[in-house]
């Protein structure tokens, strides 16, 4: 494990924006990830057996409603879980190293150079008592041992890279002196400071107004291309997924219920939850028409049913759904191609690892082939 850690912390030479990753390489492979939360009423499993992969230069969207475990998954990947949470099971293989098996101290070497994270609320995520220059430069001071002056120069470069005007003077400003959109840019700059292979963006535009949202998504796209980063975009916004992501993993009650390339999943959902989500998007509605929604609400973490997690809201529910939880299996039109892949690997939403291979279509439903999409 040490050798892997050392290897990964070798300084990467080359100009900013160039990393060792080739396009479409699998950068991150998560499988069987489980996170437990210790509560007063006992331990609950907030994330259960989640698996997906992220590829260089591509965006993977983790899609789901509030409380489905998508942010928890992001924090587990980044190693910044709350003290009451435990990483119970699973592997997080980032560029050949299993982060889940490292000690917190070993993980610090990866935080920054290999993996960056962007939070939703940029105001609380920035330290109010330090200038943005100090905070932007910190990664360089920690990982590259630069002095304060060099770190400040790097901070100015970063600010220019993310489109903040007059970086030379703004570098000495404090977070509260920036607008929401600018703060989000600073947060993104911080995450990409050391050209990480993987960027996790946890609802990066939820707190922003629509025009700024578009700018921020554009910025993320540009940075992704420049650095051939793998981006994990956590969102509940179907439109953002459709526009920005290459592949999607739909989460429900701590489980991935469907995954695959965005175009295929959205065109031909193979899980009733995905289908319900897509149908709840208002299309061609007259003013005053009833908006469609999925009836009911997600199960409490304290009593997730033993069978299918979606059983209480599913229109297709049968006895077998209450008795047995469906595994994530190849599904959809490309099922025939995928069937050749090892089923075990398919359950973690990966194929056999060929760099040119596309993400497998999978769904966790006993009746995924019976869903009709008109």
């Amino acid at each position: 494990m040490n050798s892997a850690a050392d290897q990964a912390t070798l300084p990467r030479t080359g100009p900013a924006g160039v990393t060792a990753s080739q396009p479409h390489d699998v950068v991150l492979q998560v499988s069987g990830l489980a996170v437990d939360i210790r509560t007063h009423r006992g331990t609950v499993r907030a994330v259960n057996g989640v698996g997906f992969e992220a590829r260089a230069g591509e965006t993977l969207a983790l899609l789901g409603e509030s409380g489905c475990g998508k942010s928890m998954t992001a924090k587990a990947l980044a190693g910044i879980m709350d003290p009451v949470c435990d990483l119970a099971e699973g592997t997080i293989v980032l560029n050949g190293t299993d982060l889940a098996a490292l000690t917190p101290k070993e993980r610090l070497k990866f935080a920054g150079p290999e993996l960056g994270i962007v939070f939703q609320d940029a105001l609380t995520a920035l330290n109010p008592v330090y200038t943005v220059g100090t905070q932007l430069g910190e990664a360089f001071r920690i990982h590259r041992k630069l002095n304060a002056k060099q770190a400040k120069a790097e901070a100015i470069d970063l600010m220019r890279r993310v489109g903040i005007p007059e970086p030379e003077s703004r570098v000495n400003s404090y977070p509260h002196q920036f607008s929401g959109g600018m703060r989000q840019r600073i947060l993104i700059a911080m995450a990409v400071a050391l050209n990480p292979r993987l960027l996790i963006a946890d609802e990066p535009t939820t707190a922003l107004d629509v025009t700024v949202q578009a700018q921020i998504m554009q910025l993320l796209r540009t940075l992704r291309e420049e650095g051939q980063m793998a981006v994990i975009l956590i969102t509940h916004d179907l439109a953002v997924v459709a526009e920005e992501a290459d592949s999607v993993a739909v989460m429900y009650a701590g489980n991935v219920v469907e995954s695959g390339p965005v175009a295929e999943v959205f065109a031909d959902p193979r899980h009733p939850y995905t289908k319900g989500l897509l149908e709840s998007v208002p299309v061609n509605l007259e003013r005053g028409d009833q908006l469609r929604s999925i009836p009911g609400s997600p199960p409490e973490l304290h009593d997730i049913p033993s069978g299918c997690v979606y059983q209480s809201r599913c229109p297709l529910v049968q006895d077998i759904c209450r008795a047995q939880r469906p595994a994530l299996r190849p599904a959809g039109r490309r099922r025939a191609d995928n069937a050749a892949a090892d089923v075990d690997q398919a359950t973690s939403a990966t194929n056999d690892g060929g760099t040119a291979g596309r993400p497998v279509r999978t769904a966790a439903c006993h009746f995924s082939e019976e869903i009709t999409n008109a």
């Binding site: 910044i80 610090l108 920054g112 994270i117 330290n127 920690i142 404090y174 911080m190 995450a191």
Partner: protein, 309 residues
């Protein structure tokens, strides 16, 4: 910054006047110094002479006007007891108090920050429980009791330190230890509380996601955010000490301003009392300004807005 300081100094002038007027009037309600300073068999003539010589026969308002006239010329009157300049006596006593207060507070703050941070790392952990017990005890033990028990054990029984006075470094141990305990206990709880909330802020998570280790997270990111409440309380506690740790100074015979005030009250030495109170009040105003500047130093959001030219 200078505008701010000027404003603060002007706005603190009125409270200073009120304090002196209050002390001036109240001190004279304790009785006539003549009955203390003259022999028991002094005649009424002698008493009247003494009162007139010290200006105490004038109406209160006239006395007060005289006094303030003197203050403006930096003449604070003479001690009835020693005949010395009252201001000189107060200024002579003040450094002893300041040294004691400063040493105590510096030690209390350092210890409290270490223990408080240690406790905050794992809320409800073993360290937290131990420090909570210690700090509660420290904040609750009465200082006069502790001082006397300390003298009994360490000065009388063990003979390690002198019982009182300012004779060498060892004489500092008991007064400081006694004074330290309460500020330490109170501050541990404040530091612990504000560190717990600072450590749960998203910017701490983000710092960790940049690769900041535990030590850097605590000392660099959390502590500065947690410092403001501790600074407020530490300032309050320092005011208490600068005001003359009256009990402790009396018990340990520490020649500070607290002891001077008590002595001059008992002796009806009005000029010295007024000078001591005025000096303490000025020191407390200065301290408050320092604390306000401390806030501004810690956090840009509370800095007075400076208009750029």
């Amino acid at each position: 910054m200078l505008t701010y300081l000027r404003k603060r100094i002007i706005s603190s002038a009125l409270p200073l006047v009120v304090v002196v007027v209050g002390v001036f009037a109240l001190a004279r309600m304790t009785g006539n110094p003549a009955s203390l300073y003259l022999p028991l068999n002094a005649t009424q003539q002698m008493r009247d002479d003494f009162t007139a010589r010290n200006g105490l026969d004038q109406p209160l308002l006239v006395q007060m006007a005289d006094y303030f006239g003197g203050v403006l010329r930096l003449d604070f009157g003479q001690s009835l007891r020693t005949g010395q300049d009252a201001a000189a006596m107060a200024l002579r006593a003040f450094p002893a108090t300041l040294q004691l207060a400063a040493t105590t507070m510096v030690l209390a703050i350092i210890l409290a920050v270490i223990v408080g941070c240690w406790a905050a790392l794992k809320p409800n952990g073993i360290a937290d429980r131990i420090s909570s017990f210690i700090s509660m005890a420290a904040a609750s033990i009465p200082d006069f009791w502790l001082a006397i028990v300390g003298i009994w054990i360490f000065a009388i029984t063990l003979g390690w330190v002198p019982t009182s006075g300012v004779t060498g470094a060892s004489a500092w141990v008991l007064p400081i230890a006694t004074l330290l305990l309460r500020p330490f206990g109170v501050l541990v709880q404040i530091v612990r509380g504000s560190m717990v909330s600072a450590l749960s802020e998203p910017y701490i998570k983000l710092a960790r996601s940049r690769g900041a280790g535990e030590l850097r997270v605590v000392t660099h990111h959390a502590l500065r955010n947690a410092a403001a409440p501790a600074l407020t309380v530490a300032g309050d506690l320092t005011v208490g000490l600068v005001n003359g740790a009256v009990v402790v100074e009396t018990i340990f015979g520490w020649p500070g301003i607290g002891k001077l005030m008590i002595d001059s009250i008992l002796q009806r030495d009005f000029a010295v009392l007024q000078a001591a109170v005025l000096l303490t009040a000025v020191a407390i105003f200065a301290l408050n300004i320092l604390i306000d500047m401390g806030y501004a130093l810690l956090d840009a959001r509370v800095r007075p807005v400076t208009v750029k030219a």
